[in-house]
Assembly symmetry: C2
Homo-oligomer: 221 residues x 2
């Protein structure tokens, strides 16, 4: 049985979960408190990070490496275009969300509000939370601009870039930190992706001490 060592509100783990589900690859989820890594966990990934995927008799780590591996070994349905320039655009946007959106937004909000408490790392840093809440507007506007030109974030087809963005936004939506009224095209895009069967597992997540807000799993939010 395939196994994914993950943490529910990690956008990197959610990205992998969504892509596995789109490819209809079944996986057992094992929750890992990555901030208290066991020797066993560090043996699986010396970087001490989630996700780690046990698949095909191997342990794979780094979320991007995992997604590329899945795409190469299970090509259907394709989540990457064939043309190299179009692939570069998908990868640019994956990095946009995993690097820039993460440091501008996800880290300032999800890490401060949720993970710090779970790690017993103290109270949220109010300045970081304010910065994250401010930065998300720029990103929503950027997505709005992309969706004004394209049907999906990276072009005409749904790709890994959409799942990467949705992974981050779904973590923020769990803590009610997305103002969906900022952009109708972004809201429509998220509603479409949220209604996919692959999203069900993510919408069922429950974090101890942080009850799901009612709109989170509602497809008509």
């Amino acid at each position: 049985m395939n196994r994914l060592y993950h943490f529910p509100l990690s956008p990197y783990c959610r990205k992998v979960r969504l892509i596995l589900a789109e490819k209809k690859i079944e996986v057992e989820l094992v929750e890992e408190k990555y901030w208290e890594p066991s020797t066993e966990f560090l043996r699986r990934n010396p970087a001490g990070k989630v996700p780690v995927l046990k698949i095909d008799g191997m342990l794979l780590s780094d979320s991007t490496a995992i997604c590329e591996y899945i795409e190469e070994t299970v090509p259907e349905p394709p989540l990457m275009p064939r043309d190299p320039a179009a692939r570069a655009e998908v990868r640019r946007l994956m990095a946009w969300f995993d690097d820039k959106f993460y440091s501008d937004v996800t880290c300032n909000l999800v890490h401060e509000r949720v993970h710090k408490k779970l790690m017993r790392g103290g109270y949220p840093d109010g300045r970081a939370v304010k910065t994250g809440a401010q930065n998300i507007k720029f990103h929503i506007h950027y997505m709005d601009w992309l969706l004004d030109h394209r049907r999906w974030l990276a072009g005409d087809k749904m790709t890994m870039a959409d799942f990467t963005a949705a992974a981050h936004l779904s973590c923020l939506d769990y803590i009610s930190d997305v103002d969906w009224s900022l952009s109708a095209p972004v809201k429509d895009w998220y509603a479409t992706i949220k209604s996919r069967p692959a999203f069900r597992s993510v919408l069922a997540d429950q974090i101890f001490g942080f009850p799901q807000p009612p709109h989170y799993a509602n497809l008509d939010f």
Copy 2:
């Protein structure tokens, strides 16, 4: 003419420069002070980061997306294996250096000692420098362990993982922050990669206010 917008001591730019040179793709280098981004630069890459590559009539950004594009469009000489599991290992190690090594080491040393001064951002934070100098030992030991099992970092063949690691280490070597006596296998590996023609441009770099130490460009260091 292809053009790379870069900054000399950016490990991400060096990775792209090394891979372009290995593939014998000529490129004009344009230095970009990415911390004072012009409107023109932000138009080229709204993320405000280097490297940006102008190639085939397009502007590509994100160093990993650029490297994958080069590998897909100019397959010879191959810098990625064909087997998906081996490719996942190359990508895991690229992320290891670009994410973990960067935040553990490169950022604490190169950013603090060099970029902060160039940006007029104040004096180096002594605690960060100490942390970086401590952390590099763990990483050299990890590389030593990999090279005890393998000829190159990701396996039997030289890959992008080697150039990613060498890009970071060469930046640190420019400011004499690598203790090569820590591991003979790592020193031998770096000596081999440093002597490749593709490395010449990186060894010729001169940073204003930071003269090259004599060992930096010496192949017998």
